[in-house]
Amino acid sequence: MFHRESGYFKTTYAADGGLYPLPIAKWTVGVLLVGFILLPTISTVVSGAVSAEYYVSVVNLILIAVVGALGLNILVGYTGQISIGHAGFMSVGAYTAANLAVKLDLPFWITLPAGGLMAAFIGVIVGIPSLRIKGLYLAIATLAAQLIIEWVINHTPAISGGSQASIEVPRPTVLGHPLKTQRELYYFLLFFAVLSIVATLNLVRSRIGRAFVAIRDQDIAAEIIGINIFRYKLTAFAISSFYAGVTGVLYTYYLGIANYENFLITTSIDYLAMIIIGGLGSVLGSILGAIFVTLLPIVIRLFMESFGTLLFSASDLNNIIPATRLGLFGLLIIVFLVVEPEGLNRLWRNIRNYFRVWPFSY
């Protein structure tokens, strides 16, 4: 809307599939990147160091959620294979990394990919039923995976380690410096969030990504045009679980502990909610969904704390805030889905398309 889109002609397929649709996109990316790198500094200047720590911590939770939502969207949104067991894969990654970090004293740049790979391996095994079953049946098969993983972790002391099936992990260190504060962890998480966004963007415009979409739209047709369904379905499970595993590792390093109770079935549902609200089969949708689901409860509480006292007494408010949080959360999800079943991503595109020609809509 602020820039011209006409006058750029793409003459090759490579140009058409390019990462940057318009030259100006490079500038936007640059500005955004600088903005995100400066975010902690800006918030410190605006609101003081103590408050900035809090705001950055909220952004940190979003960054972790973005990685997980992207991974789930590759499987559910792009390949059309449903999974309700994603939190299980996260716990696989978390415990793998925690064990490696504690028992073998390995740094995060080894444990993180190792956690991802282990989750990918388990993901492939769980994905095998997807070759025969679809839809609700596959959903139940992945649900079973979630429960089995939970049970195994819980009952294998070699995996779950110390008391209460939780392993304390040392803070990640970069160049001998342990990352402790929210601000330091922010850059740590930002790096991996950006990496996974770029990786996903590239994946979905590659041959593999297109094969995923073909399988989602009509798997028989995809097979007929020469896509090896066996290979690509399992690849989708592997890549998606890799992301989930990495999410688990990031959680582990962020919290300083691997604990299976962080990765129960409700977490799987939360991530499914993110991609459905954000928009299935879209990178931006995953990001928007992660932001929405993480921020909504926080914003509702801040709103109620600021304005709720006008209507209710302080003691009632303590009961009303959590209740409205749950109620409004559910209501807003329904409203959003009714207004735009294709999620926030589509909503955003509609807005953009409206303003693209505004104010001369004809």
């Binding site: 936007t28 103590v50 408050s51 502990i257 604990n259 109770e261 009961n319």
Partner: protein, 416 residues
């Protein structure tokens, strides 16, 4: 897609500005962070527990506060979800909280390292890990009440007294919810089995814990246990009561850990009459006849309001009072050390916690004595037995086998 991110930043900035308005606190107030769960997996506890925290804080404030300073108990509901718990903690930190009432085992463990880094003490009565009683290893984590290890030791002691002072050759069944918290007491029980010479057999109840007919039949018909120690959560305690009743096992031969011990569990099992004889372990007194309840009722009456209905569920309500009362005592100790108008920090309150001693609230609290080494405060419990449909006190505050627990805490510290 990149331009879209710009909008996101704008939205985030909006949210930040909104909260900045809410961040202005009064300078002399002391903020205590309260993590709560009124809507999540353990809401049955939270709906009684959290109001008690506020009632007691208001009571203290109405009497002029702590050393003249008002207390603000800032509650955040985290729905028993860990990311929300992290967010709640950072929010409390931003509001300048000097101590945090934690809630939930995963949250406690996730925050253990953070609390020490930020030097803010947190408390975890009745949950968290038993090893955190070690104040040297976890300087900023305070279980303040009997951990599962202490509860296991106390349960064995109680059983020993019930079975005539000798456990040689007796059969004890341990019925537990099959999760890490349920398994935590096992090493203590196994040690005590060797020490006291009783036979121990464990019976796991898988999640969600509402089906245990087979285990109970096993305990009563095949194993023929002399006594049952139960460690169940959520809906499962009430199911266990019903099942024991169905097979005709006397409930007076069952003792339950602290999370299967509330009025709500008895009601869910079909009322107090069904559970006659059932023994429950408590880390705070039960009943609403303590002087502090009268004071709270009077406070409400002065405002022209009826007493809160939450008070009727005395087990959880009293635990709420217990939890906040220890914090207030710690703040009082900190203010005494630093002067009433001083700006106290989390570190001061931590030192205050380590001086907590002799707050009894006329029997509602155990003879707690927290020291720099022992953050559990002794590991005291009391047994309440269902008599005539009501929970009645059947023991004084007691603890057992402290040397066994000490050994395990030391062993656990060495392991990591």
């Amino acid at each position: 897609m990149t331009r879209h991110l710009a909008r996101l930043t704008a939205a985030a900035a909006g949210a930040i500005l909104m909260s900045a308005g809410a961040a202005i606190a009064q300078p002399k107030e002391i903020v205590i962070g309260v993590q709560c769960d009124r809507t999540g997996a353990t809401q049955t506890v939270g709906v009684f527990f959290c109001p008690a925290v506020h009632d007691y804080t208001n009571l203290i404030n109405s009497k002029g506060g702590v050393e003249g300073r008002k207390i603000r108990a800032m509650e955040i509901d985290h729905e028993y979800k860990v990311p929300q718990g992290m967010e709640a903690y950072e929010r409390h930190k931003k509001e300048g909280a000097v101590s945090i009432l934690l809630y939930g085992t995963p949250h406690t463990q996730a925050l253990a390292a953070k609390l020490a880094e930020d030097k803010i003490p947190g408390t975890s009565p009745g949950f968290g890990s038993a090893a955190s009683a070690d104040g040297k290893r976890y300087p900023y984590l305070f279980p303040i009440a009997a951990t599962y290890w202490s509860q296991a030791a106390a349960a064995v002691k109680f059983v020993k007294d019930k079975l005539g002072g000798n456990l040689k050759g007796k059969k004890i069944a341990y019925l537990f919810y099959d999760n890490p918290a349920g398994k935590e007491p096992l090493p203590i029980l196994e040690d005590l089995a060797k020490l006291e010479g009783f036979e121990l057999k464990t019976f796991a109840v898988p999640a969600p814990g509402v089906e245990m007919g087979a285990q109970i039949l096993d305990i009563t018909q095949r194993y023929r246990a002399d006594f049952v120690i139960a460690h169940l959560f959520g809906r499962s305690p009430s199911v266990s009561i019903k099942e024991f009743k169905r097979v005709g096992f006397p409930l007076s031969k069952v003792v339950s850990f602290v999370w299967g011990s509330a009025e709500a569990d008895l009601q869910a099992a079909g009322g107090g009459a069904v559970a006659e004889g059932y023994n429950t372990m408590q880390f705070a007194g039960v009943g609403s006849d303590y002087p502090v309840h009268k004071q709270i009722r009077d406070m409400y009456q002065k405002e022209g309001k009826p007493a809160p209905k939450e008070m009727a569920s005395t087990v959880y309500y009293n635990r709420g009072i217990f939890h906040i009362a220890v914090h207030i005592e710690a703040v009082r100790n900190a203010l005494k050390a630093k002067g009433a108008n001083a700006n106290i920090t989390g570190e001061d309150v931590k030192n205050g916690f380590e001086k907590v001693k002799g707050i009894t609230l006329d029997g509602l609290m155990p003879p707690l004595e927290i020291t720099p080494a022992d953050h559990e405060g002794g590991g005291w419990v009391q047994i309440f037995t269902v008599k005539g449909g009501k929970l009645t006190k059947s023991s004084e505050w007691f603890r057992a086998y402290p040397e066994v627990i000490k050994k395990h805490i030391e062993a656990d510290a060495k392991k990591s």
